[in-house]
C-alpha cells in the first residue's frame, strides 16, 4: 500500500487546467519533493491531496483510503503547512497551539505542545500575539502547528520561504528527523533543499508531472552536470 497514490488526478478552474492527469505513487516514510515553476500546479496538487479542494476528475488514495469516501478518516492522519502562513492572528503563539490542539482533540495536549515549543524554540515568542511576529517566526509557528496531531502524512508547501539561513538549516534538521517516520511531501524553489532532503523528486510544469526520480537519476537522464541544470532542462523541455 502506498501512502499517497493518484490516478489521472486532474483539476480544472473553468478553462484553465491547473493539474493535468497526474499519476503519483509515494511510499510510506518517503520524503517527496515537488518542484516546478510558478503556476506549475504544486499548491493545487497539495490542496487536492490534503482534502481541501475536490479534484475535477481522477482518484486519490491516502494510506489506501479513498479521498471522497473516507474524507473524515483521512483528515485525522494528515496535516498541512500552507504556502501562506496560516495562524490565528489575534491569538498568542501559545493560544494558537492550544486552539489547534483542540481542533484535533489531542489527548496529551500539554505534553505535545511542550514538545513543539522545544523543537521549534518557541519559548521566546510564546506570549506574543501572532500578528506581531516577524514573517519568519509566523512561518515557524505555522509549521509547528502542522505537527500537532502527529500526522502520518505531512504536506509542506514552501516551508522555508522567508526563513533566515540559520532557521532554514534548523528546519532541515527537524525535517530530517521526521524522515522515515512519516511521509512528507514538500514543495520548494530551492534546488539544494530538494536535493539534500528528499528521497525522490517530481518536476511539474503547466499542470503536467514531467519527470520523477532521485536527484542523481534526473541529472543522469537529462545529461547535465548538476541538479539545478537538470531541473531547468526538464522543466523547460530543453529550451534553456
Amino acid at each position: 500500500m502506498f501512502a499517497i497514490e493518484t490516478k489521472t488526478l486532474t483539476k480544472k478552474f473553468k478553462e484553465k487546467t491547473a493539474v493535468n492527469a497526474i499519476n503519483l505513487k509515494i511510499n510510506k516514510g518517503e520524503l517527496f519533493a515537488l518542484l516546478g515553476t510558478n503556476g506549475a500546479g504544486k499548491t493545487t496538487t497539495i490542496k487536492m491531496l490534503s482534502t481541501l479542494i475536490l479534484p475535477t476528475s481522477g482518484d486519490i488514495k491516502i494510506n489506501g483510503l479513498d479521498i471522497l469516501k473516507d474524507r473524515q478518516k483521512i483528515k485525522e492522519i494528515l496535516n498541512v503547512s500552507p504556502q501562506e502562513t496560516a495562524i490565528a492572528s489575534n491569538l498568542t503563539v501559545m493560544e494558537n497551539l492550544e486552539f489547534m490542539a483542540g481542533v484535533y482533540q489531542i489527548k496529551n495536549k500539554q505534553q505535545k505542545i511542550d514538545e513543539l515549543i522545544k523543537i521549534f524554540k518557541l519559548n521566546e515568542v510564546i506570549k506574543q500575539k501572532a500578528k506581531t511576529l516577524s514573517g519568519g517566526w509566523q512561518r515557524k509557528v505555522s509549521i509547528a502547528i502542522s505537527l500537532i496531531n502527529e500526522p502520518k502524512i505531512l504536506f509542506l508547501d514552501e516551508p522555508t520561504l522567508g526563513l533566515d539561513v540559520i532557521s532554514r538549516k534548523e528546519l532541515w534538521k527537524v525535517i530530517k528527523e521526521l524522515k522515515g517516520k512519516i511521509t512528507i511531501m514538500l514543495t520548494t524553489h530551492y534546488m539544494e533543499e530538494a536535493e539534500s532532503l528528499s528521497d525522490r523528486i517530481g518536476i511539474m510544469a503547466n499542470g503536467d508531472l514531467i519527470d520523477v526520480g532521485t536527484s542523481e537519476e534526473l541529472i543522469k537522464k537529462s545529461n547535465t552536470k548538476d541538479f539545478e541544470d537538470a531541473f531547468v532542462k526538464i522543466a523547460t523541455g530543453g529550451e534553456l
Partner: protein, 244 residues
C-alpha cells in the same frame, strides 16, 4: 461538540481583542436608553417597560454585524485553509460561532437592566427569564450574520449588516407603532421577525405573556430555522469553493 466549544473559545478571544466593536454594541444602546429616558417623551412607546425590550432587541442586532464580520474575515484568511483540512465539520463551525456570542448577549442584558432600573424599572425575577429569552432571540441575529458572512466578502458583509440594524429600528415598533406609517408598511412589519422579537421580550419582561401571539412565535422560529439551515448550506459550499 468539543470542537465547536474549542472554536467558540477562539472566536470569543478574537471578539474581545477587537474591543471597539464590542464597546460600540454596548455603549450605543445604553446611550439611546439614557437619552430617551432623560428627555421624557410623553408617549407610551417610551415608557421604560416598553422601551427597554426594544433596546434589548436593538442590542442583539449588533450580533449580526459581529458575526458577519468574523465569518467573512475568517473566510478570507488562510487560517481557514488550515481548518479546512482538519476534521472540523460544518456544524462545528456554525455552533462555534453561535456559542461565542452568548456571553455578549448576557453582558448586554445585565447592563441594560442596570440602567433601566436606574430609570425606574422595577427589579423582578422575570429579568432573569428575559436574559434567557434574549439568548434565544439572539440566535436569529447570529444566524443572519452567519448567512451574510458566508455569502459576502469582508467588504460587503458589514454594510449589509448595518442595514439589518436599521431595519430593526424601523420595523420593530421600538420607536413608533407600525400603523403610523400605513397599512402596507404595517403588514410588511408583521411578516418581518423584528417586531415579534420585541413583543416576545416585552411579554416575558413585563409578565404580560398574553400579548405574545402564536404568530409572533411562529414568525420568529421559522425565520431562525430557515436562515440557520441556509447558512449551513452556504458555509459548507463556500468552504470548498473559496479554495477552489
Amino acid at each position: 461538540m468539543m470542537r465547536a466549544l474549542n472554536f467558540s473559545k477562539r472566536n470569543f478571544k478574537e471578539l474581545i481583542r477587537d474591543p471597539l466593536s464590542t464597546i460600540f454594541a454596548l455603549i450605543l444602546p445604553l446611550f439611546l436608553l439614557f437619552i430617551f429616558q432623560t428627555i421624557k417623551i410623553p408617549s407610551e412607546q417610551f415608557n421604560i417597560e416598553n422601551f427597554t425590550p426594544g433596546i434589548i432587541v436593538f442590542g442583539s442586532s449588533f450580533l449580526t454585524l459581529f458575526t458577519s464580520m468574523l465569518v467573512s474575515k475568517d473566510r478570507a484568511s488562510s487560517l481557514l485553509i488550515r481548518l479546512g483540512v482538519s476534521p472540523m465539520k460544518t456544524t462545528d463551525y456554525i455552533f462555534g460561532y453561535v456559542l461565542s456570542f452568548i456571553p455578549v448577549i448576557i453582558i448586554q442584558n445585565i447592563l441594560f437592566f442596570i440602567l433601566a432600573c436606574f430609570f425606574g424599572l422595577q427589579f423582578s425575577y422575570s429579568m432573569i427569564l428575559t436574559v434567557l429569552t434574549s439568548i434565544i432571540i439572539g440566535m436569529l441575529y447570529i444566524v443572519i450574520g452567519l448567512l451574510l458572512g458566508s455569502c459576502f466578502n469582508d467588504k460587503t458583509a458589514p454594510p449589509l449588516s448595518s442595514i439589518i440594524i436599521q431595519l430593526v429600528c424601523f420595523t420593530s415598533g421600538m420607536y413608533f407603532p407600525k400603523e403610523m406609517v400605513g397599512d402596507i408598511f404595517a403588514k410588511i412589519c408583521g411578516y418581518l421577525p423584528f417586531e415579534s422579537c420585541v413583543t416576545i421580550i416585552k411579554g416575558i419582561m413585563n409578565n404580560t405573556i398574553e400579548i405574545i401571539s402564536l404568530k409572533n412565535i411562529v414568525v420568529f422560529v421559522v425565520y431562525t430555522i430557515v436562515i440557520l439551515v441556509l447558512s449551513i448550506i452556504v458555509f459548507k459550499k463556500k468552504m470548498i469553493s473559496d479554495n477552489n
